[in-house]
């Protein structure tokens, strides 16, 4: 082969040198041309196919100008279709510091920054500082609304824009041409708002200079963006919804978890730019329309959410809660979250600001800027957390129904079982005390729960044994995250079965030494009373596309049955008893409704040890169920580190749940049934007797069951308290006056707080006032007055109804 080729070359060469000069010359020239042609084709192949990436990218990057058209984010709606969050157009304003330096003096720059700050309603200093930043471009506002954008437009493009171009006519003579573009046209996008570079380029050999003049503010421009608008003046469900950051990405909560669903697909405006920066003519424009994100309908009911937040916020203030509070309202049968809140919350529109004033003050006091920054970041991270899902705590006594239901299900105890509480329980050689040091004495199983008696539960735990207890613990879903569709869900800590000691078991039995999240707790608690079914909590009802078609709707998932229906029914009775008179959960009592619940107070022993706290730190919590005979909703309130006078779940968390129930249950349309005792304290309509004769009036009022006190001796009634056509407690004494007496005399409302019901009743009677009892514990002497309305010291007419709320005091749970 090689020999053949060699001989061919040899022959060709011989032939070549034996040729005459014409032929050899022609052969040489032909070979030269052929060689060049081959070289060219090889070079072309190299440039175009083999090593073309780099140059191709360079070409594309200089030719294409892509403008992103942001897609509208989907809305977030509540269960009834009320908008919670909506997206709308907004504008991001950019500064180009280099251009400012290039084009303006310091004075002019300051003027521009001042004007920008004024229009955009931002700090002048911040704008000025950004204008010196060593980057280009710099965002100066996150989101300006349309109004601000229009103002900015008018300012930036106040003059027309002209450019001088040196052109050449057909004969090759150079001439200058001034192109004038009206400000309107620029704004309409006929010319890009971004200033184009001046460019020298060559036409053949001649260097022609294009001069361009822009009589508008250089170095400022804006781009469209979208902005999240929140529909409630006080942020609703901030920690659940989350917020969107600078780049319209969901950063927390639903926004984060369903970011892909909500965000849609950004559109693109592709324009091919020519070298002078203008758009190429003809077909080089391509628009990719943005696709709006999908809407999300939550299971959250805005009005329930508002109720929860209202009372939770109040509870946090009243009890000086240090480490935030969480609240969850859940449908016990489906796992749908009706409301979920963490307090104090933050404003999603201004998510960086520290919403908690106390924390904000503390940070403001820090002098070292690094420390300050660090503290700010920490506080921000803290306020964005959804405590109901992200944080764990020791549930304390709220956990007791779990242990008890397991024991009932396993048959190691029964309702008839009796226990003896000497005030402590021996685990091995260690003595663990009961909440009541003197002990509860002999008690039944139900009384054990009503008293929240630790020794009873420890006994039950012992009977169950480590293995069975652990199995139930896992079965109640407490060892794994619940799988709720919210980001960053934690799962609590539990002892490893192999390493678990009897002491651990005893502590776990009444809810200490292990942690759970509030959402885990409420889910497990629901399983205890709903027939034993462990549901998977969820917060998104359905996802709809922009045309309203349902893409996905969530079906309730029952993960397993943990306990039998019978055991669950027994637990319902026990928990109802706990919430009734004599039970530790009695503060949740609401006339007309059958409510069950369990209080809980856990000591944060680990944290106390860690920070060497001199005072004890507690978590007060309460889980309430209503109606207990046919459970529908569960409410869990958890107050982390209350610093008020009282710290137990029964005295501070249970009233919150009651207040929530008082609005929630009517809202859900749950029927009321009042007992005789309830009726005694119920409001009834007071007939309007003004203008009637005294006799008629007295008859009418007494018929209703009111006591009547007549002032003066006239014949006609001129005034009455409580006023007619309004409701007042049945036990009221209605004061009526006749024309001879005139007006009803005034009296000062006494201070009624912190007293027993008897003391309060006495004080009220002495002031010739009426009392409306609310809360619990007023029938016997166990209650103590907590709030009063009108407040002490106000001057009111005699006979005015003073609402006094009592709570059962001294609950050790």
């Amino acid at each position: 082969m090689i020999n053949k080729a060699l001989s061919f070359i040899k022959q060709s060469y011989q032939k070549f040198i034996s040729m005459d000069r014409f032929s050899s010359g022609l052969a040489f020239i032909s070979a030269l041309i052929l060689g060049c042609v081959v070289a060219i084709i090889v070079e072309l192949a190299n440039l175009m196919v083999i090593n073309n990436d780099e140059y191709q990218q360079k070409a594309v990057s200089q030719q294409l100008r892509t403008t992103t058209i942001p897609a509208d984010r989907g809305d977030i709606l509540d269960a009834f279709g009320e908008k919670l969050v909506q997206s709308a157009a907004a504008w991001v304003v950019y500064l180009e510091p280099e251009k400012l330096t290039e084009n303006y003096s310091t004075d002019e720059r300051e003027e521009i920054c001042h004007k920008l700050a004024e229009i955009l309603d931002t700090e002048y200093n911040v704008v000025l500082q950004r204008s010196y930043m060593n980057a280009s471009p710099v965002k100066i506002t996150v989101k300006a609304d349309n109004d601000q954008k229009n103002k900015l437009d008018a300012y930036i493009y106040r003059d027309a824009y002209t450019r001088n171009v040196t052109r050449e006519n057909e004969k090759g003579e150079k001439y200058k041409e001034e192109e004038v573009y009206l400000a309107d046209r620029i704004k309409n996008g006929d010319f890009p708002a971004i200033e184009r570079r001046e460019k020298d380029y060559y036409i053949d050999d001649e260097k022609l200079k294009h001069e361009e003049h822009y009589h508008y503010i250089k170095g400022v421009y804006f781009q469209t963006d979208t902005k999240r608008y929140y529909y409630h003046s006080t942020p609703l469900a901030a920690n659940v919804l989350g917020y969107t950051n600078f780049d319209n990405e969901g950063a927390q909560g639903i926004e984060k978890y369903y970011d892909e669903t909500l965000k849609g697909v950004d559109g693109k405006h592709l324009t091919a730019a020519n070298s002078v920066g203008g758009e190429m003519q003809y077909e080089y424009n391509a628009n990719v329309d943005p696709i709006r994100g999908n809407d999300i309908t939550l299971t959250i009911d805005a009005s329930i959410q508002a109720t929860l937040e209202k009372y939770l916020r109040k509870a946090v203030i009243d009890n000086d809660v240090q480490n935030r509070a969480a609240g969850i309202i859940m449908n016990v049968n489906t796992g749908a979250i009706l409301a979920m809140s963490t307090m104090p919350d933050y404003d999603p529109e201004d998510y960086n600001a520290i919403a908690d004033e106390r924390v904000a003050k503390r940070i403001a006091a820090i002098e070292d800027p690094d420390e300050k920054k660090k503290a700010t970041v920490e506080a921000q991270q803290e306020q964005w957390r959804n405590k109901a899902v992200n944080d764990t705590y020791e549930p304390g006594s709220v956990f007791k129904p779990i242990t008890m239901s397991s024991a009932l299900e396993e048959g190691v105890t029964s309702l008839d079982d009796t226990f003896n509480c000497p005030g402590y329980h021996m685990v091995g050689k260690k003595k663990i005390r009961c909440g009541r040091r003197s002990g509860h004495g002999h008690e039944t199983l139900t009384q054990g729960m009503m008293n929240s008696c630790n020794p009873v539960l420890m006994e039950l735990g012992e009977r169950l044994g480590i293995k069975t207890f652990s199995r139930y613990f896992a079965s109640y879903g407490l060892t794994a995250a619940t799988g709720i569709d919210l980001p960053g869900e934690s799962a609590g800590l539990f002892h490893r079965e192999a390493e678990m000691t009897q002491l651990d078991l005893a502590e776990c039995a009444y809810g200490q030494s292990m942690t759970v999240t509030p959402i885990q707790m409420i889910t497990a608690f629901s399983a205890v009373i709903n027939g034993g079914y462990l549901v998977k909590p969820y917060i998104v009802e359905k996802v709809t596309d922009p045309n309203g078609n349902i893409i996905r709707s969530t079906q309730p998932v029952i993960r397993r049955q943990v306990i039998s229906e019978e055991t669950s029914a027994k637990m319902r009775d026990i928990l109802e008893a706990t919430a009734n008179k004599g039970g530790t959960a009695h503060n949740v009592y609401l006339p007309g409704y059958r409510i069950g619940g369990k209080t809980g107070t856990s000591e944060k022993i680990a944290k106390q040890a860690a920070i060497h706290s001199k005072e004890d730190l507690y978590v007060a919590s309460f889980c309430g169920i209503a109606p207990i005979d046919n459970p529908e909703v569960a409410v869990l309130i958890m107050l982390d580190e209350p610093k008020g006078k009282r710290h137990t779940g029964g005295s501070i968390a249970a009233p919150v749940v009651r207040e929530i129930f008082s609005e929630l249950l009517p809202h859900l349309g749950i029927d009321t049934t009042y007992s005789e005792e309830d009726r005694k304290y119920m409001d009834i309509l007071v007939p309007n007797v003004v203008g009637e004769s005294v006799e008629d009036a007295t008859d009418a009022l007494e018929k209703k069951g009111f006591t009547v006190r007549v002032l003066g001796d006239g014949e006609k009634v001129t005034a009455q308290t409580p006023v007619g056509a309004k409701s007042a407690p049945r036990s009221c004494t209605v004061i009526i006056t006749t024309e001879s007496k005139g007006e009803i005399p005034k009296t000062i409302v006494p201070d009624l707080l912190g007293r027993s019901p008897t003391q309060v009743a006495y004080a009220v009677r002495n002031s010739h006032l009426n009392i409306r009892y609310s809360g619990s514990g007023f029938e016997n002497s166990s209650g103590i007055s907590r709030t009063q309305d009108p407040p002490a010291g106000s001057e009111v007419e005699q006979g005015t109804v003073v609402t006094v709320e009592f709570t059962v005091d001294g609950i050790n749970d």
């Binding site: 005459d20 000069r21 014409f22 010359g25 022609l26 040489f28 020239i29 032909s30 041309i33 052929l34 060049c36 042609v37 070289a39 060219i40 084709i41 070079e43 072309l44 192949a45 440039l47 175009m48 196919v49 073309n52 780099e54 140059y55 191709q56 360079k58 070409a59 594309v60 200089q62 030719q63 052109r167 050449e168 006519n169 057909e170 004969k171 090759g172 460019k199 020298d200 380029y201 060559y202 036409i203 053949d204 050999d205 001649e206 091919a272 020519n274 070298s275 002078v276 190429m280 003519q281 003809y282 080089y284």
Partner: protein, 466 residues
């Protein structure tokens, strides 16, 4: 009768002055040239012209009949493949020029069709001229005619230097409706002059007294003398005559300045010399001479931007936004083409990135739009054209026609190769146009007229190639 009267007229003039006047000489020369070119010029026969319509009609009819026979007779037909190749190249070239130019035309003249309209007119004119020229026997360009072309070219080159510069160079003569580049004519004139000289002096150029076989033996001494003699003689007959004939043209071209045309003319002359019999040893010297000449011209700043262009060629990306702009944009355009290109009309680089995309850098747009496949196809078309051009030239037994044909073909070949090498940054930018593709009316017309000569060569050859 006419001969007699012609002679008598001549004698009368001679008689009057006793010797031939300059006037009579010039007249004689003009008559010879005109007769060569088939024009019936006869000063002596002062008969009255018949301007009657019938006579004019008859003569037109006669003339067209004559040309038709030329196109109809099989023996008299030109080389059809060559013709088709040219037409294909012209069509593809015009289409690509249209695509490449419209954005630039719009930006410069606010009329996308500006270059396209012009080019179409000149293509039609050129093809017509090509067909007309193809009917002229190529022999008519031999001898004195070639020198007439040469003189005219020199005159125009001097004229263009005196005329005001356009775009900084003295390259164009403005004819009002279009511009004309004398250098285009100069190329053709150089081919004619070289071919004429070679035809008349072929034997002298190729003479060899030196005998190979005797070298080693007895006549070594006389052989060495013969070698020197041969070389001296070859220089006198095959180098020097070319230098004084081509030198002035090159000088005037450098004064314009028009380096690319200078190089092309050097290459054509070199080719014809090589084929004509100039000894290869002289080419070393000639190459060195032209190398020194070119580098002097380039590096002394005689050619504007000369040094810059060399620098750009070495590294176009060093000043990508300034001096390297043209080359960089050309490279980017070529690379954007890929294997199959962006499609006809879809070049993006022609939008003000490639400066004057309809001219020297049109091939970059071709690459971008048609891809490697299209670009290679066009290069192969050129290659086939060159092969065909050479083939018809060699087939013609007439030495003059042979050399003219090779000259024309190689001119197109060199221009194509140099242009594409510039576009792909293989050689420094000289500012050379791509035949059939680049816009430019007179150059295209001139080119097609030259192809007409090539076709005439194929037509007049008794040896038809298939």
């Amino acid at each position: 009768m006419s001969t007699v009267s012609k002679q008598s007229g001549k004698t009368e003039e001679v008689k009057k002055n006793g010797k031939r006047t300059f006037r009579s000489k010039a007249k004689d020369l003009f008559v010879r040239v005109m007769n060569k070119l088939n024009f019936d010029v006869d000063f002596s026969r002062r008969k009255k012209r018949d301007w009657s319509p019938g006579h004019i009609l008859a003569s037109v009819k006669n003339a067209s009949a004559n040309s038709l026979t030329v196109f109809n007779s099989k023996q008299m037909m030109f080389d059809k493949p060559l013709f088709i190749l040219v037409i294909v190249l012209v069509l593809v070239g015009t289409a690509m020029m249209s695509s490449a130019s419209y954005a630039y035309a719009y930006s410069q003249y606010k009329n996308s069709m500006y270059f396209i309209e012009k080019q179409v007119v000149f293509v039609l004119l050129g093809i017509f001229l090509m067909l007309v020229v193809s009917t002229i026997p190529p022999d008519k360009f031999k001898g004195v005619t070639s020198y007439v072309f040469w003189f005219i070219s020199l005159g125009l080159l001097v004229l263009v230097r005196l005329l005001p510069a356009k775009k900084g160079v003295h390259r164009w003569i403005d004819l009002g409706f279009t511009t004309f580049q004398p250098s285009e004519l100069a190329k053709f004139a150089v081919i004619l002059v070289c071919a004429t000289y070679i035809t008349y002096h072929f034997k002298e150029m190729n003479i060899t007294t030196y005998k190979k076989r005797e070298t080693k033996l007895k006549a070594a001494r006389s052989n060495s003398y013969r070698i020197r003699y041969d070389l001296r003689r070859n220089f006198q007959t095959a180098v020097w005559p070319f230098i004084w004939r081509i030198g002035p043209v090159l000088g005037l071209l450098l004064l314009e300045p028009h380096l690319s045309c200078t190089i092309i003319i050097m290459l054509i002359t070199g080719t014809l010399m090589l084929l004509g019999g100039t000894r290869k040893v002289f080419f070393g010297g000639l190459l060195a001479l032209s190398g020194i000449l070119v580098s002097l011209v380039v590096f002394t700043g005689f050619i504007p931007y000369g040094k810059t262009r060399i620098a750009v060629w070495m590294d176009p990306f060093a000043d990508a936004k300034g001096a390297g702009w043209q080359n960089v944009q050309s490279l980017l355009a070529i690379s954007s083409g890929g294997l199959f290109g962006a499609g006809f009309g879809n070049s993006r680089q022609k939008f003000m990135y490639i400066a004057e995309p309809q001219n020297d850098f049109i091939f970059a747009v071709v690459c971008e739009e048609l891809g490697l496949v299209g670009a290679a196809f066009i290069i192969v078309l050129f290659a086939i054209f060159i092969w065909r051009g050479f083939a018809v030239s060699i087939a013609n037994p007439d030495r003059f026609q042979k050399f003219v044909g090779i000259g024309i073909t190689s001119q197109i070949g060199y221009q194509m190769i140099l242009n594409i090498m510039v576009v792909t940054n293989m050689v420094p930018n000289t500012g050379i146009s791509l035949p059939f593709f680049s816009s430019g009316g007179t150059s295209l017309t001139m080119l097609l007229a030259e192809i007409g000569v090539l076709l005439a060569i194929s037509r007049s050859s008794p040896n038809k190639i298939t």
